[in-house]
Amino acid sequence: MKIVLPLVAVIMLVVLAFAGVQVAGMQFLFGVLIPYLAIAFFIAGFIYRVIKWGMSPVPFCIPTTAGQMKSFPWIKQNKLDNPSSTMGVVGRMALEVLVFRSLFRNTKTELREGPQLSYGSEKFLWIAGLAFHWSFLIIFIRHFRFFMLETPFVIQMIEGLDSFLQIGAPLLYLTDVVLLGAVTFLVFRRLAMPLIKYISLPADYFPLFLILGIATSGILMRYFMKVHIVGVKEMVLGLVSFNPVVPEGIGVIFYIHLFLVSTLLAYFPLSKLMHMGGVFMSPTRNMANNSREVRHVNPWNYPVHVHTYDEYEDEFREKMKKAGLPVEKE
């Protein structure tokens, strides 16, 4: 049920877009209104989620300390795994975001014959995650040729590199293959490993199936069920310049692709996909381990009235003297 539900949901989305465009002829709804709503919801929802996170106080200084902290000058500090300065934090965050260093340290625990518990390095999740995220980014950037009348040189260069094997026509993009392979692996990983399968929820499968659907529809559109691509660009430019037009004769597969992307955008702020913004908001990653230099004040500390020793002595000095107790001030 945890797997079937999201799968059926994605299939229903495809059917909905197909029926809406092919049968009911609602090109304007699926091509203009829904994308606008989805983008607006994505941007507003993203900002809302980040600001809401920003409102929550961080009571303790809790950076993960995965190496030697700053200590005596003759003890070498691990500046990336236990940063004590802003530069160190930026470095650790950059490596985390760009190469997923914490996933690289992923380990696997196995109970073997014996019984014997063994731990081993597990790099497949890291490799597949890296391949998936980077291809997704390159594909996203590549799509900017549809969003700009004159495609900048950088984007043409990325596209040229991505298709440099010159297979078929239109040229096969390497990232299409890598993305599809990586997402398929990530789905099978959840299905094949019993422990992962046990903790996987519909909210884990749905984005995977949705992205698989987006990639599949995009690949179908480029290589197999070709669409009137000049019309597509005309329509997209119309959308982004707020002069929506719906050219005739674009294939239905484009509307399916667009509807799935709109769904992803609208779903984004509601889901675990918010890790895009969330990684920067994680106190375990964005704080410096400098608690011995800088006092971290809990922002929701209640202003407690304290009675210090000085005040105590001021109050009872005379009585203390009479009783023969030592006082700090005469």
Binding site: F46, I47, I51, G54, F144, R145, V245, G251
Partner: protein, 132 residues
């Protein structure tokens, strides 16, 4: 909000990236390419028709040209039979470019719009056009 300076800076970067197409295209005209079909050869044709239908050619021409190349170069077959059963000689320069002799106004108009760079002319000789 805590650390509001850093968070707002991050959100500005987010907006700069994701809203880029919207502010980049502000006030820019959406100029759709109009490939020109008025070459002398096309004007003299009795039936103005390509080797396949317009819709097929519009979306599948790159696949067709790729198949044509493989057919000639690998199989030595220079005859193409279209959907209507009509035979055409497979040749970019003698069939395609015979009618569409205006590469700049025909091929390039859409290819530039879509930022597509076909590698036809790294082997074939690019036609010399009078109008430039």
């Amino acid at each position: 909000m805590y650390n509001s300076g850093k968070i707002i800076a991050g959100l500005v970067v987010f907006l700069a990236f994701f809203a880029f197409p919207f502010y980049y295209n502000l006030g820019k005209a959406n100029a759709r390419p109009e490939p020109k079909l008025n070459t002398p050869v096309i004007q003299q044709l009795a039936e103005k028709k390509c080797v396949e239908s317009r819709d097929f050619m519009r979306s599948e021409h790159m696949q067709l040209l790729n198949d044509w190349r493989d057919s000639v170069v690998r199989d030595g077959n220079r005859i193409y039979v279209n959907a209507e059963g009509k035979k055409h000689t497979i040749s970019l320069q003698n069939t395609c470019m015979n009618c569409h002799s205006n590469k700049k106004e025909f091929c390039d108009s859409c290819h530039n719009y879509m930022a597509v760079k076909p590698y036809c002319w790294s082997c074939h000789i690019q036609p010399k056009e009078d109008k430039s």
